[in-house]
Every structure is written in structure tokens, then in C-alpha cells.
């Protein structure tokens, strides 16, 4: 009797292992695949597909995975093209004005040469030169946007960089009688950034702030270390006209401009790219009639030693 019992137990154990392999095995595979597809990894189950109901499910999921991957590629491509379309149209329109200016000056110089004074002729050439500079800046902005340069990282003190950038825009601020108020935290850890690029970002945001404010506005610049001590936050706030809430999500889009500003319309897009390239974040908050705040976050790099090893490795 006992032997029979043991025999049945052993048979049951063997049977359950086979059930496990036949049912739980495929279920586990399908579960893993579903999770991987959700994460955007469009894998497929390649192992020999059983010829039962599980096999049907696996085939269905495999073909779904393939379709999803294709659709995602098409979507990304079409978004890229739309983006390029906006960019190209924007640049073409931007270039039209300085080109027209040069053209009209040249036509007038040609048609009216004898009737112009020497001073006028020289003035014309000077203005053509200025318009060429303008074209050069538009082209450079475009290149900056298209191919953000690899940041050349150096250890810098972010407060010094803020002050240096303010000096560059001082004239513009003075012309509009804009008062600057600073609240820069002491003893901030040094940051590893590309000094020129981050300076470009600061200058861009200061100038935007100045343009948003008519006369006698206030520009607030602050810096601090976040509680987790892994991020330095720099806030640039103006008391200008602000940005309507429906425009806020588009503020960093290329050529998104209310045409109220001068400039190429690429400034904020380029700034956004630069900060992203530094593994940072930038966000904007605004209240129409009250003001706008741009907040930049830059990571504090772990240890000097780690980064030195990294730099050596890159060479």
C-alpha cells in the first residue's frame, strides 16, 4: 500500500514538473516580453514556438511587437520632418530681411551713384556690412541648433560665471534702467560645464528678460544648492509682461516667437539644447502682467577623482 502511495507521489511530481514547463514556462516568457515591449524594446520570442494555444498567443505578440516598432519609427521620422520643416521655413523668412536690405542698398548705390555724397556712399557700405553680420548670426544660430557642440567641461564657479555674463549685458540693462538683484548662495560646489556655452545660455536669458520688460523693470538672479545636494539651481526672474499660459509649452520651440523680440528666434531652443547636453534641466514659469522665471538645474558632478579618470579615458 505504502509503495503504491510513494509511486503515485513520484508520478505526480514528475507530471507537475512537465506541467510547469509546458504552461508556466510560456506564461513567464510572454510576461517578460510584454514588459519589454512596454519599455520600448520591441523584442520577439525566438525560441521554438510550441504548436499549441500558447504558440498562437506568442505568434500574435511577436507580430504586434514588429508592428509597434515600425509605427514608432514612422512616427519619429514624421516628427523629425515636421520639425525640420518649421526650422527651414523660419530660417528662410529670417534671412529674407537682411538680404532685402543688402539688395535695396546695392540697387540704390547703383542707380543713384552720382547723386549720392561720399559720406552717403560710405554709409551704404557700412550698412551692408552690418546686414552681412546679421546673416552670419542667423546662420551660426542655425548651426548651433543643428549640431550642439560637445561641451568642453571644466571646473568652474557658477556664481562667477553669472556675474561675468551680467557684465556682458550691462549696457542693455542700463539703457532700459533695469535694476538687477542678486541672491547667490555662498560655498556652492564647483560645476563641470562648458563655460562658453553656459555663458551663452545666461546671456540669452538675461536679454530675453530685458526685452520682456519695458523700462525700470527688475531682474532677479539667484543660485542655490538643492536639499539633496546633487543639483545647483539658478533662477532668472523678470518683472516683465509674462507669457500667456497657452504659449508656455512652446517657449523652447525653434522660431516660436511672438515677434515682439528681435533676435533669431532660436536663442531659447539653443539654450535648451545646451542645458540638456549638460545633463541639466530648464523650465519656465510665468504669470502675464507679473513676470517670468526661467529655472536652470545643473548636476553637481560626483567626485573630482571620478571625473579626472573619465577625462583621461576620453583622451
Amino acid at each position: 500500500m505504502f509503495l503504491l502511495f510513494v509511486a503515485v507521489l513520484v508520478a505526480a511530481l514528475i507530471a507537475s514538473r512537465s506541467v510547469s514547463r509546458k504552461i508556466l514556462g510560456p506564461i513567464k516568457q510572454i510576461e517578460r516580453l510584454a514588459k519589454s515591449i512596454s519599455a520600448g524594446n520591441f523584442k520577439k520570442i525566438e525560441t521554438p514556438i510550441p504548436k499549441d494555444e500558447f504558440g498562437q498567443v506568442i505568434n500574435a505578440i511577436n507580430s504586434m511587437s514588429e508592428e509597434l516598432e515600425q509605427r514608432e519609427e514612422e512616427l519619429i521620422q514624421s516628427k523629425k520632418l515636421a520639425s525640420i520643416g518649421v526650422l527651414v521655413a523660419g530660417v528662410a523668412h529670417e534671412l529674407n530681411n537682411p538680404v532685402n536690405n543688402i539688395s535695396m542698398i546695392a540697387q540704390t548705390y547703383d542707380d543713384m551713384y552720382e547723386k549720392l555724397s561720399v559720406e552717403q556712399r560710405i554709409e551704404f557700405m557700412r550698412r551692408i556690412d552690418q546686414e552681412s553680420e546679421r546673416i552670419k548670426q542667423i546662420v551660426n544660430s542655425l548651426l548651433d541648433f543643428a549640431r550642439p557642440k560637445e561641451p568642453k567641461l571644466r571646473e568652474i564657479d557658477i556664481n562667477s560665471l553669472i556675474l561675468k555674463s551680467l557684465v556682458l549685458v550691462q549696457n542693455t540693462l542700463n539703457v532700459s534702467s533695469i535694476e538687477t538683484r542678486l541672491d547667490l548662495a555662498e560655498n556652492l560646489p564647483p560645476l563641470f560645464v562648458d563655460e562658453n556655452q553656459i555663458q551663452q545660455v545666461f546671456v540669452n536669458l538675461f536679454l530675453n528678460a530685458a526685452q520682456a520688460m519695458a523700462i525700470e523693470g527688475r531682474l532677479f538672479v539667484s543660485s542655490r544648492l538643492t536639499e539633496k545636494e546633487d543639483v545647483v539651481e539658478i533662477a532668472i526672474r523678470d518683472t516683465g509682461k509674462g507669457i500667456p499660459p497657452e504659449y508656455l509649452p512652446h517657449v523652447f520651440d525653434p522660431f516660436f516667437s511672438t515677434k515682439e523680440e528681435g533676435g533669431t528666434g532660436l536663442g531659447l531652443s539653443v539654450s535648451y539644447s545646451i542645458i540638456k547636453n549638460h545633463d541639466g534641466h530648464v523650465r519656465v514659469e510665468s504669470r502675464p502682467g507679473i513676470g517670468t522665471t526661467f529655472t536652470i538645474q545643473l548636476p553637481v558632478t560626483q567626485t573630482r577623482k571620478e571625473t579626472n579618470e573619465q577625462t583621461d579615458h576620453d583622451h
Binding site: H93, N100, T108, M112, K115
Partner: protein
């Protein structure tokens, strides 16, 4: 009596250059960088032709066209623009624009168009 031409364009060079050529032809020319002061001036005096850019900060060219036509139906409006969209051109033609020049502008063509425009206001 000289014919009076008004030019509105936020690119200063456009007004400056057009003025030189047009004054040479004997026109009286006034130039403006924005539509607001230009329209204010229009309310003081009539002009024979108004040449305006389409896209400017604040009031744009289409609004200038509408206002001019309301004030002085006989005044011709010529539009120039860096942003040459077909839809915009259609709007302008519907709004009764006399002529339409995408940038870059050939000054000779602008002069010819203006001379046809003033011929109509005799």
C-alpha cells in the same frame, strides 16, 4: 502738387532707400518703422499711396490696409513682405491691395507700380 507716398516697414533700410529713389522722382515721402505712428499721421493728412510691410510688431499690414481703405478709399495700398505665403497674398488681394511685392524688392518695379497707382488718383 506733389504726390505723397507713405512707407511703413520695421526694417529702417527699406524706408531710407525707397525714400532716396522716390524723392528723386519728385514724390514727397514719409517713412515709419511702426504702424501706430503711421496711422496717426494718416488721420492728420491724406497720402496718395501707402507702401506697407505685411508682418510687423503690433499692428500688421493687413490692418493698415483695412484702416487706410476705410479712411481714404482712393488711396492705393502696396504691400511688401518677407513672409510670402499664398494665403496671405489672397487675403491682401481680397482686402483690395493695389500691388504685392515679396522681398527682396526691386526698387525699379516698386517705382513703376507707384507711378501707376498715382496715375489712378488724378
Amino acid at each position: 502738387m506733389s504726390k505723397r507716398i507713405m512707407i511703413i516697414d520695421d526694417e529702417k533700410i527699406v524706408g531710407d532707400m525707397a525714400k532716396i529713389s522716390l524723392e528723386e522722382e519728385g514724390y514727397e515721402v514719409e517713412t515709419f518703422l511702426n504702424a501706430e505712428p503711421a496711422l496717426k499721421r494718416l488721420r492728420e493728412t491724406q497720402f496718395d499711396v501707402v507702401v506697407t510691410d505685411l508682418k510687423m510688431k503690433g499692428i500688421d499690414g493687413l490692418e493698415v490696409l483695412r484702416t487706410v481703405k476705410k479712411l481714404y478709399p482712393d488711396t492705393k495700398v502696396i504691400m511688401i513682405t518677407a513672409f510670402a505665403d499664398l494665403d496671405v497674398a489672397i487675403d491682401a488681394i481680397k482686402g483690395d491691395v493695389f500691388d504685392f511685392f515679396p522681398k527682396p524688392v526691386r526698387i525699379k518695379e516698386l517705382k513703376e507700380s507707384i507711378s501707376k497707382a498715382v496715375a489712378g488718383t488724378e
